[in-house]
């Protein structure tokens, strides 16, 4: 009983800022107040007219999709190599791929800024894409590893003994069985890229602004602009949608089993 009550309080704590944004965005006043004065969607329409905000939203969505796809493409062979072959080198490979999630974001951001400036930016978005790929590989990889470890290795051996080559075994047996983890890995990679601020701050140029960077800079000079609340709650909705879809493909408690292996 006490536990239930505590859990309820905790959940309120977790979702209160999100609720505040969503509800606050419905105000009719020209600054955010709480509770909102009147209920309207007018700030959502206002947000739709702010080109800079919309452009950064579109940019973030595309950036997230490209980075997540590239990260999944990189993480799949890494995961296969790590799980299906025993070698000490695999530990080093795993560490290399996972550390971007552990290093301070500003450390990474500055490293990318300095490193990529050798090649030159020229207002193009490749540095952002490259950085987001590196940043999201750990998330895609850790889910793919969960997927691969849940596939019984003897299934692959059985396919081999029945006459399937390594490649056909992968396509016909392994891939269908880990598809959910690829989807989930992609979803998480997308969300990480979509929400990333620090690294993007270092790499954004005037033509390549991600949504979090846009919101962050706007927040600095007009913190109570209700357009911001509107767009922010839009972000929350996108995030929630991806999260729920991801959660449906993954049985969430597989996360817990990862800790055991």
């Amino acid at each position: 009983m006490i536990l239930r009550a505590y859990v309820l309080l905790f959940v309120i704590f977790l979702i209160s800022p999100i609720l505040a944004i969503s509800i606050g965005s419905l105000t009719e006043t020209s600054f955010v107040v709480f509770p909102p004065q009147g209920i309207s969607l007018k700030w959502y329409f206002a947000a739709l007219e702010q080109r800079a905000l919309l452009q950064s939203l579109a940019f973030s969505l595309v950036l997230g999709a490209i980075s997540a796809t590239a990260a999944t493409v990189l993480a799949l062979p890494l995961g296969l190599a790590i799980v299906r072959f025993s070698s000490r080198i695999n530990n080093a490979v795993y560490l290399l791929a996972m550390t971007p999630a552990m290093l301070p974001a500003v450390f990474l951001g500055l490293a990318f800024l300095i490193g990529y400036s050798w090649v030159g930016f020229g207002g193009s978005s490749w540095p952002l894409i490259a950085a987001h790929v590196v940043m999201t590989v750990p998330f895609a990889l850790s889910l793919i590893l969960v997927g691969l470890r849940s596939v019984d290795g003897s299934l692959e051996l059985a396919a081999r003994s029945l006459g399937a080559s390594q490649f056909r075994t992968f396509v016909l047996i392994t891939l269908p069985l880990i598809l959910w983890s690829l989807a989930a890995g992609w979803g998480f990679a997308f969300l990480i890229s979509f929400g990333a601020l620090e690294v993007s701050l270092f790499l954004s140029t005037s033509t390549t602004v991600t949504l979090p960077v846009q919101i962050y800079t706007t927040l600095d000079w007009s913190p109570l602009d209700p357009t911001l609340t509107a767009i922010s709650s839009g972000v929350v909705i996108i995030t929630l949608a991806v999260l729920v879809i991801t959660a449906r493909t993954v049985q969430m408690d597989r996360f817990l089993k990862r800790g055991r292996s």
């Binding site: 003897s154 051996l157 003994s161 080559s165 047996i173």
Partner: protein, 358 residues
């Protein structure tokens, strides 16, 4: 005529030697069982045959054709895995058809052959089901159908009964034996259960610490074990330390002299172990005794009624005898009674003490 020939397999995982000079051969249609405790190398041997493990040394040939370096998918060897390894995302039909599709067979032929295989294992109605919808015994039969539908040159069975409960195990044992006899396919089976091995195999290879300790027909392995390990692993045995006197007598410490089956390989006066199976020892009335039996007089220390037999522990000095009697009521005795044990010299044997490794 040799069909499968395995010569001098050696293998190590890191510093751990798992196979030491493993050699055997089997005839066409013969069933060989690799029997041994876990870690004895039997599974590694199976993996070498399947092509999953490349041995450090040694050669495998089928009908004289060497298999070295041949990938698993080219070997045409059927395997039934311990956990069956049925593809969970495919129907029973697709599981059984998998190997045929890999061989690029025509659709019509695949349908016929899968149908035949499913009929053979008496599960034709399950074709459209998923493996998860089948019982353990059904899954096993599908795994068997999948392994044999490709008409393999060799069939490998990895602990085929370990995932079944006790009752089903007995049932499937007979069924599998019938199927194997019908198919007449050369088979290598791995198990740690001596009863399964004896029931299925034409010959048994007992493995221990990466070596084959003995390879022979089941009856010989049981009644004429070549080492203490084999004697102990295959059935129960009473073991006593002693010293050989000639080839057919032994002096056991604290018990006296006994006659044994002749064993030319035992050197006179060497340290030996005397082995007597518990079912070969009888409880005798004093009056029955004559010179042909070995006899020992002792005290009943424990008596267990187990239904089909009675288990006795009889003590003399430091030595304890395990005795199994199948007619429990023939002699009414109780704990503390003095009894006479007897057994035939032909039912007991010596192994050299140096051979001890169990």
């Amino acid at each position: 005529m040799e069909y499968l020939h395995v010569a001098g397999l050696e293998h190590s995982y890191g510093s751990q030697r798992v196979l030491e000079n493993v050699s055997f051969s089997i005839r066409a249609g013969e069933r060989l069982c690799l029997l041994g405790p876990s870690g004895c190398g039997k599974t590694t041997t199976l993996q070498v045959l399947a092509g999953f493990v490349k041995p450090d040394r040694g050669q495998v040939t089928i009908k004289g054709e060497p298999l070295d370096g041949m990938p698993p998918e080219k070997r045409n060897i059927g395997i039934m895995f311990q956990n069956y390894a049925l593809f969970p995302h495919m129907s029973v039909f697709d599981n059984v058809a998998f190997g045929l599709r890999m061989r690029g067979l025509e659709k019509k032929e695949i349908t016929t052959r899968v149908g035949d295989a499913l009929t053979l294992v008496r599960l034709p109605h399950t074709a459209s089901k998923r493996p998860a919808q089948l019982s353990g015994g059904e899954q096993q039969r599908i795994a068997f159908a999948r392994a044999i539908v490709i008409r393999p040159r060799l069939l490998l069975l990895d602990e085929p009964f370990s995932n079944l409960d006790a009752r089903l195990r007995l049932e499937m044992r007979t069924e599998l034996l019938d199927l194997l006899r019908e198919l007449d396919v050369a088979t290598v089976m791995v198990t740690h259960d001596q009863e399964e091995a004896m029931a299925i195999a034409d010959r048994i290879a007992v493995m221990y610490k990466g070596r084959i300790e003995q390879i022979d027909i089941p009856n010989e392995v049981y009644s004429n074990p070549s080492s203490l390990f084999v004697a102990r692993f295959v059935g129960e045995t009473n073991v006593f330390d002693g010293r050989a006197m000639g080839h057919d007598k032994v002096m056991v410490d604290g018990l006296g002299e006994f006659s044994v089956r002749k064993n030319q390989s035992i050197a006179n006066n060497s340290k030996v172990k005397l082995l007597v199976r518990p079912e070969h020892i009888e409880l005798a009335e004093k009056a029955d005794m004559n010179g042909q039996w070995n006899t020992v007089e002792g005290t009943v220390e424990r008596l267990l009624f187990l239904g089909h037999r009675t288990e006795w522990v009889v003590r003399k000095g430091e030595a304890r005898f395990l005795v199994w009697q199948s007619q429990p009521h023939s002699l009414m005795r109780k704990v503390g009674d003095t009894v006479t044990l007897r057994w035939r010299p032909s039912d007991c044997f010596l192994v050299a003490s140096e051979h001890v490794n169990a």
